[in-house]
Amino acid sequence: MYRLKVLFLLPCLLGACSETANETSITPQSSTASSVTSAISNEFNENRNAYFGELHVHSMYSYDAFILGGIASPEEAYQFAKGNAITHAAGFEMQLNQPFDFYAVTDHAYFLGVMREMAMGDSELSQHPVAEGIDEIGDDPIPRRQIFFNFTDFANSGNGSEIMDMDVVTSAWNDIVDTANRHNDPGNFTTFVAYEYTGTGPNREMLHRNVIFRDDNAPDLPFSRLDSDDPADLWDWMDNNRSMGIESLAIPHNSNYSEGLMFDLVDYNGNPLDSAYADQRMRNEPIVEITQVKGTSETHPALSPNDEWASFGVLYTRIGTDVLIQPEGAYLRDALLNGIRLQEEQGFNPFKYGISGSSDTHNGTAVGPEENFYGVSGLLDSDGQRRGAVPLDTPNPDGSLYFDRYARFGASGMTGVWAEENTREAIYDAFRRKETFGTSGTRMKVRFFAGHDLPELDDDELISKAYATGVTMGGDLIAEADDAPAFIAWAAKDPNSAPLQRLQIIKGWVENGEMHEQVYDIACSDGNAVNPTTNRCGDNGASVNLDDCSISPDLGATELRVKWTDPDYNPANNAFYYVRALENPSCRWSTWDAIRAGVEPRPDVPATIQERLWSSPIWIIPESN
């Protein structure tokens, strides 16, 4: 009551309204902080701008984040995304040098807010045996991990509902929704109401998805794994919401830890896939997360033996074990191939995915440059020793020098979209169109078009004509029997990262029922040419000085641009093409940690990486289909 009174009186008292006070002078022009710091920075562009964002962020409401030391609130997470500093549980400050254009906090719906309530609250939850010891917990990772395991063991024991306090869940969810809506600032900074669904197979295989809502109207509660582990039930729930005007999409991630279930050729209950399944899946899941801290899921060396870059970000064993993961059904390229094979054989494609990338941070803070990697698991990986990049003070019992659990994680994951403006509607619609790309954490950009009548590269109106005459990433092009399509691929480097080394097209196709893939280098830096026999650029010789992480100053390209035609094109084949752009090599986060600690980089992880970008595919559909 009181607040309203001031609101209505203030403008007049300040002399802002005349005798005939009109509505607009009383209504605040803007009620969010961010509009006050960065008004009108992004104009509407019918040829679309690239915007960078993060769609996988855990705050203190995620049970795992909180107990591991991820204490950032949703409010702090959005403050961080907008460029403000927030404090890590270990005491240091975290800040971006480039704010994000869009951001979504995606806490686990599963036991949302419950762990924090056990530690901080005064409800009955805090007296539950699972919470035993949670109050006295210090910054030592070992007891934290122990409570985490106690919690998950209990949660998985079948008695989980005992600690699913719906008052706690509702209050956390309301805070998440309100905070996202409060920070959404059309034209400057976009947020999404979102959460993570952690559906799981019978042996803890990950079938995880982030659910992103388009608008500010969200359901009363998120659909969680406690409702069902079967993703099709999540899609039913989303379909039902949609019929009530609540639009959302789900982004599968960590397929690399799904043991082949994420892109399995049967459904959750073992039934063969059909067109109804494909329709529902694609209606609800237009894009997938190709990379994140817990591994990159583009492909695996066992699946793509002729791709020299296939090992990037691949985690070969199940988390915390020596058991090898199963690659089939767990990587995107393989899924895209199976999708077009099913299209050809049965007339539906359940895996027609666009591409995004996000970090899966549990600190509220996305990953920035390799140089400023804070880890993602609170106090468990908050410094070089805990991340496994710097030798331990006391070696492990088996004599090894390093803590191993996080050493192979990557500082990876960012999503780019092409959208007319920085608003929820424009960016969400780009997800729907699959006009998206994923990067390993830097802000490279790529334009990608296919068509039979594309403009020449030197055309002043290249982009508008390419949109007018072709299709862009995420689209379908119908093949013409007597005319191979052209592709335009155009990548630009991140102005704050290494130059580009090469531009590639990854092609997948089905011929006589067989699935094939081929990596083509299509543009090379430094005047190198593509060898037409090997389809590879010559080596540009770029290197990294591991003493200080400086890179070859004069090698690499700011942009690579090419109009390309597939030398092996066959209009009768179902095919997809996506772009991969590679930077020159630069230091991996672990090397930066080692330099700061004054030690040699750990020998059994790569000292350098090639940051990269993956565009959403363009699909070529044979005319007869």
Binding site: L10, S25, S31, T32, S41, R443, N496, S497
Partner: protein, 264 residues
């Protein structure tokens, strides 16, 4: 003189100390004490019952409610007697939380407009847009190409005839230093600040190469007027007041206590 004499009487001191011990014993006794059930308690239990069920409690129901209250109360008293509230982190947290609520909810006077204005002025940087640029740019990979192009423009060549293709836009509007460093690379905002307004100037370096810049407008820092954002300022004001109230409450408490830092 006389009073000094009385205070020196040992007998009086015995009496005073004895009385104090008696009072302390009756107040702090560890003995089990009585539990009083009176009409007021039964009324309270009855009202609670009505709130929860919407029904008036019968005498029998009141008896049952009282009985169950008694069984809980006796456990509570016994737990206190045994000191179970000591060193219990949940009790500690709850008590601290309750006191915190009390400290924060201490009634604060409604802010006068003058208070809000003062707060707004004190925190004016939170309500100020940074300096921003609107400009056109021409991109070159190499510095000498950029310098040559600038010479050509000065010699009369139309600017649209120079520059190399890039994914960058030809013009940008209302870009802050933060935006510029994100789009063109760290340090670009500092470099553009040294350029002249209203002419083609440069080249300056970016993360991509070199740029000739025509600054068409520099938009100075701009304060958002209070009347445009009253709700936000009020919220910020109240949040600041709350934190302040809590802090000064704790400070006052600290003054009441003697804090002894023991060095080992």
């Amino acid at each position: 003189m006389a009073s000094g004499g009385i205070l020196k009487q040992p007998l009086l001191w015995f009496a005073i100390i004895g009385l104090l011990l008696f009072i302390a014993d009756s107040q702090l006794s560890n003995n089990r004490s009585e539990i009083i059930i009176d009409a007021a308690l039964r009324d309270r239990l009855g009202t609670l019952w009505t709130t929860q069920t919407g029904l008036i409690a019968s005498e029998a129901e009141l008896d049952a409610l009282t009985e169950s209250w008694l069984r809980e109360e006796v456990m509570y008293q016994e737990a206190l007697r045994l000191g179970l509230d000591q060193e219990d982190s949940i009790v500690r947290r709850r008590l601290v939380q309750k006191l915190g609520f009390i400290a924060e909810s201490e009634p604060l006077p409604d802010p006068e407009i003058a208070d809000l204005e003062y707060f707004y002025q004190e925190n004016i940087e939170d309500y100020t847009l940074p300096l921003r640029y609107s400009f056109q740019q021409k991109y070159f990979q190499a510095m000498d190409a950029a310098e040559n192009a600038l010479a050509q423009i000065i010699g009369g060549m139309p600017a649209e005839n120079v520059g190399e293709t890039s994914m960058l836009n030809q013009s940008y509007a209302y870009r802050s230093a933060l935006d510029l460093n994100a789009t063109f690379g760290a340090g670009f905002a500092d470099r553009i600040a040294n350029l002249s307004n209203g002419i083609w100037d440069g080249p300056i370096q970016s993360g991509f190469g070199y740029h000739l810049i025509f600054i068409s407008a520099i938009h100075p820092e701009q304060v958002t007027p209070l009347q445009a954002i009253p709700e936000q300022v009020l919220q910020d004001f109240q949040r600041a007041r709350q934190l302040q109230a809590r802090d000064s409450y704790i400070d006052n408490l600290l003054d009441e206590y003697e804090i002894i830092m023991e060095t080992q």
